[in-house]
Structure formats: structure tokens, C-alpha cells
């Protein structure tokens, strides 16, 4: 009996441990007082201030732009690689299958360093400045692997049979992809889109290294705000970012749940 009690308490403790800080932060963002040990009233003023903060709005715009473009590129490249690895089996593809995991496991500090070092070297020959473009390229570089692995996990034997059936029924190579492959991987594809977007949008360290003045992304800006201290402004922007990615991630999870029921 003791054992079950302990397990139950642990369960509750973990959930409280994880969610309490989040709710606290969100709650505080509505607190009139600047100090978080007193609650003086409900207000939206901090959120309103956010909307007038030009720096934050710029950073937000940059983040969205970078996320959208890098997601687009990652999906195109990643989906292509996934199909390529699914259909071609030789020594080269076996190597790629293993190597594709490296961008997923690489520490963000290491990747940030190597991208910076690379771009600086390139700028000796080409007119490249650290900015939006370099951020997009860097984000795409690690996102491709996530897309490839996520979609790749859904490219099963069953799909292979269906593709053969379609060929047997007169579908040419493009028609097979359009009529059979795409519908089959659609949930995984949608999940990849959302995941790529979230990973790019939330990314801090690499962006910090490869963006330049004027092209700061939101997480990088917020990070510098956080380092300075606990303020209502940070509370509200943090809460917003959290809720935003919460919604997106719930979408991913629901989609992959639907897929597993197939």
C-alpha cells in the first residue's frame, strides 16, 4: 500500500512541478504590480505595451519570416531525401541514413560555432553578411533531418505495396507520388511542417551566432531581456511564446495520434 501511495504522490508532484511555473508565469503576466509577490489586479497593459514595442515586433517579424522560409526549404529537401532513401538502397544511401541523424543530435553550441565560422570564411569571397539569409540557411540545415526522419518513419512496406499497385494500374512516377504517396504520408508531412516551424521559431543559440544587427529573431531578443531580469514585459512575451508553441505542438501530437490509428 505504501508503494502505491508513493507512486501516486510522485505522479502528482511531477505534474505540479512541470505546470506550476508555467501557470505562475502566465498568471503574473496579467498582474498589475511589477513585483510578483503582490497581486494588485488584473490587467492587459503589459500585453498592450508589447504591441507597441517596435524592437519586439521587428524581432517577431524576423522570426516568422525565417521560420516560414526555412520550413518551406526543409520540407522540400527533407521530403525528397526521405523518398530517395525509401526507394534507393545502396551503400551511399545506407551511409546517408546514418549521417542524417547528426544534425539532430549535434549540440546547438557546436552547430552555432561551425555555422559562424563557415559564413565568416565565405564572406571573404562572396558578399554575405550575417543576417536573415544566414539564419534561414542555418535553420534549414538542422531542420531537414527532422523532416526526413519524421516522414521516413511513415514510409513503410505497406506504402511500397501501394506504390506498386498504382504503377500496375498505369500511374507514371509523378502520378504515383501525387495519388498514393502524398495522401499516405500527409499526417506526417503536416506534423513535419509544424515541427519545423516550431524548432525554427524557438531556436536561440544558433540564431544568436549567425544573425546580425537588425535581423535579430524573437528568441534571441527575449533571451537578452531575460538575462537582464524578471520584468512584466518578459512575463508577457514569454507567456505568449509559450502558448503559441503549445498550440502548435498540440497540433503535432494530435496529428501523429491520428496517424497511429491508421
Amino acid at each position: 500500500m505504501n508503494r502505491t501511495l508513493f507512486l501516486k504522490l510522485n505522479y502528482v508532484f511531477v505534474l505540479v512541478f512541470i505546470y506550476l511555473p508555467i501557470f505562475l508565469m502566465i498568471g503574473l503576466s496579467f498582474n498589475e504590480s511589477k513585483y510578483f509577490n503582490q497581486w494588485t489586479g488584473f490587467t492587459l497593459q503589459w500585453y498592450q505595451e508589447l504591441l507597441q514595442n517596435q524592437n519586439i515586433l521587428n524581432a517577431l517579424y524576423n522570426s516568422i519570416f525565417v521560420a516560414v522560409v526555412s520550413t518551406l526549404l526543409s520540407i522540400l529537401f527533407g521530403f525528397g531525401i526521405a523518398l530517395y532513401l525509401f526507394r534507393v538502397k545502396n551503400r551511399f544511401t545506407t551511409f546517408v541514413e546514418k549521417f542524417i541523424y547528426v544534425p539532430i543530435v549535434i549540440p546547438d553550441v557546436t552547430m552555432a560555432a561551425m555555422m559562424l565560422v563557415f559564413f565568416v570564411f565565405i564572406s571573404n569571397f562572396l558578399e554575405i553578411k550575417l543576417g536573415i539569409a544566414t539564419t534561414i540557411i542555418s535553420h534549414t540545415a538542422f531542420n531537414i533531418s527532422f523532416v526526413t526522419v519524421l516522414i521516413g518513419s511513415k514510409l513503410t512496406r505497406k506504402l511500397k505495396v501501394l506504390e506498386e499497385v498504382a504503377s500496375d494500374l498505369y500511374a507514371n512516377h509523378f502520378q504515383v507520388i501525387k495519388q498514393v504517396t502524398l495522401p499516405f504520408v500527409m499526417p506526417a508531412l503536416l506534423a513535419s511542417i509544424i515541427l519545423s516551424f516550431v524548432l525554427s521559431f524557438d531556436e536561440v543559440v544558433i540564431s544568436m551566432f549567425v544573425t546580425g544587427p537588425g535581423s535579430t529573431t524573437l528568441p534571441v531578443y527575449v533571451f537578452s531581456m531575460i538575462k537582464k531580469g524578471v520584468t512584466p514585459a518578459v512575463n508577457s512575451v514569454s507567456s505568449l511564446m509559450l502558448i503559441f508553441s503549445l498550440i502548435l505542438v498540440t497540433g503535432v501530437l494530435l496529428l501523429s495520434r491520428k496517424d497511429n490509428l491508421k
Binding site: 505495396v161 506498386e164 499497385v165 498504382a166 504503377s167 500496375d168 498505369y170 507514371n172 499516405f184
Partner: protein
Amino acid sequence: MTYALKFENVSKSFSTTDAIKDISFEVAKGEFFSLLGPSGCGKTTILRIIAGLEHPTSGNVYINEQLINDKEPHLRPVNTVFQSYSLFPHLTVKENIIFGLKIRKYEKKEIESSLEEVISLIDLKDYLNRKPHQLSGGEQQRVAIARALINKPEVLLMDEPLGALDLKLRERLQVEIKSIQESTKITTIYVTHDQTEALAMSDKIAVMSKGEILQVDDPESLYERPTNKFVSNFLGNPNVFKGVIKNDKFISDEFEEIAVTNTKNGPGLIFIRPEIISFGFNKVTSPSMNCVEGVVEHILYRGSWLDVIVSVNNTKIEISKENNFDLSIPDEGEKIYLYWFINKTWVVLDDEK
């Protein structure tokens, strides 16, 4: 044009194995042709080569005298019914069936009339708007057949389509498939490991083992006059004995002499099918029959027939008899005489493989 499909010395090897070696055969137009053999014998490989999903390593494949070795699957006048669960899950039954027509951009009217035609052959009217996961295994396979047939292919391929179904359903669909084939007269290549299925449905059967074709013949010839050891053993459930044939007599450790007809001398095997053996309580002496004495060991009740295991000398012979209720069945332990026609003892000498 004489044949619908022809294989000429076709071999296919994968990196580690040879799937099929030097395969040659012809299929006439409108024929129901089966590839029969155990798992791994290469029958599915042959089917996939016809469909274009694999390409031969060497040799030639012709459909209606056209060489099709490297032609892509979507350019061949061939359609396949795959082994199981090959319906597109995101499409309805109707959309599945008309897939091949829609892909080739047939007009709506043509599609509708072709659909009507196929439905008249295979009744699927009630299912048209359902999705595959709402159908049973048998219903799904019928949809798969309709989906292939609607395209009126030159050659229809079926890869063990009934393997996943239970016995009664299988037997019902065997009849259905056979009657459809007879009325449409489409050349059909049917792959199975089930000999009763092949014997029941086919015009011709190619028995295969380990990548080679051992014998091609109509069912009756194959069953009653097999030309090699494997085929004899594979079809039916014969009693097999090893010994030496000398002067029309078979001699082995178990039997002193068993008469056989018109064979050469030498070591070999004899096959005695259970269903040709009769039994009685008196010895039978006749120039056209063999007779041996034995004791009943087991009687296996199979419902509509009986398998009786009889020990003879120091071996066992199995006989099968229809269960006629007025037939007097011997008891276990009773002495019994087994007799059969000499010319029904099938002999395969060792040098005939």
C-alpha cells in the same frame, strides 16, 4: 499470334540468391495458368517480372510477341491482384476500382459503363461508397479483382489472392474467379502454394521448386502421370517407398515384390495414392492387382472421408475412403488386405530426377 505470354530462358538473381534459373514456358490466349510450388520456389518472382516490378537478369519475356523485358509497369497491358490488403486506404471502393481508368484520363461516361460491366461480373453494388477498412478480407479481395479486371488487361496476374481467407470463403471465391475467367476469357496467371486450388481452377499448371519449373501439364496429367519425384510427392499425399525395380517388379526392404508395369530396371521410388487403394477382409489374387496384408493401426475421422493407417510388414500405408455409412470399417487391430490396380502404381526411377 499463338501465345499470350512467353518466357524464354529467363533467369533472375538478386545480390545473394538466384531466384529463378532458366525459366521457359508459354501461356495460350484465354488460358488459366497456375504457378504452383512451396514458398521460395520463385513463383512470385516470375509474376513480378511479368508485371514489370522486377526485370530479368537474362532471358526474354514476350507478351503478344512483343518483347517487354525492360518496360515499366505502367506501360504494360498487365494488371495484378496482389496478395492482401492492397486497396488504397484513402479512396472509396468505387474510386479504387476505377483508379486505372481515371489515371489514363478516360471519359466519365466510359468509366461509368466499364464500372457497370465489372459490377455485373462481381457484385459489389452495396459497397461502392465504403472505405476499405470497412470491408472484410473476402470483400476486399473481390474489390481488388474488380479493380484489375475493369482495365481489360491482356494478362491478369493473381498472387495468392485467397491465401489470407478461411476455407469456406476460399472455396467460394475459387468458383467465382474461375467462372469470371471463363466468361471474360482473359489470360490469367495464378500463383498459389495450395495444390487443391491449382488443380481445381487451372487449365495448365507449372509445378516449381527452388527456382526451376519441374513440369507443365494439365491438372489430370500432373496428378496421375507426374514425371519426377518432386511433383509426385508434392501433389496429393501419396505413399512413397524406395527400392529397386527389376523385371517389372519393385523390391524393397518393406515389400518382397510389388508388380509394376512397363518400366525400366534400376533403383527408384514408387508412389501409391491413398485413394486408389481398396481394402477387404479376404486376400485378392488377380493378375491386374497387387495385394498386401496388414493390420489396421489408426482410423482418422475426417468427416466426409476417413484416413486409415495400416501397418504392413514394418512400414505404414495410408488409405483414404469416402465415408459411406454403410461401408463396414475395420476396427483398429483387425487384419486387413489392401489391393490396387498394378497400372496405378506410379514409378519414378532415380535417373529421372
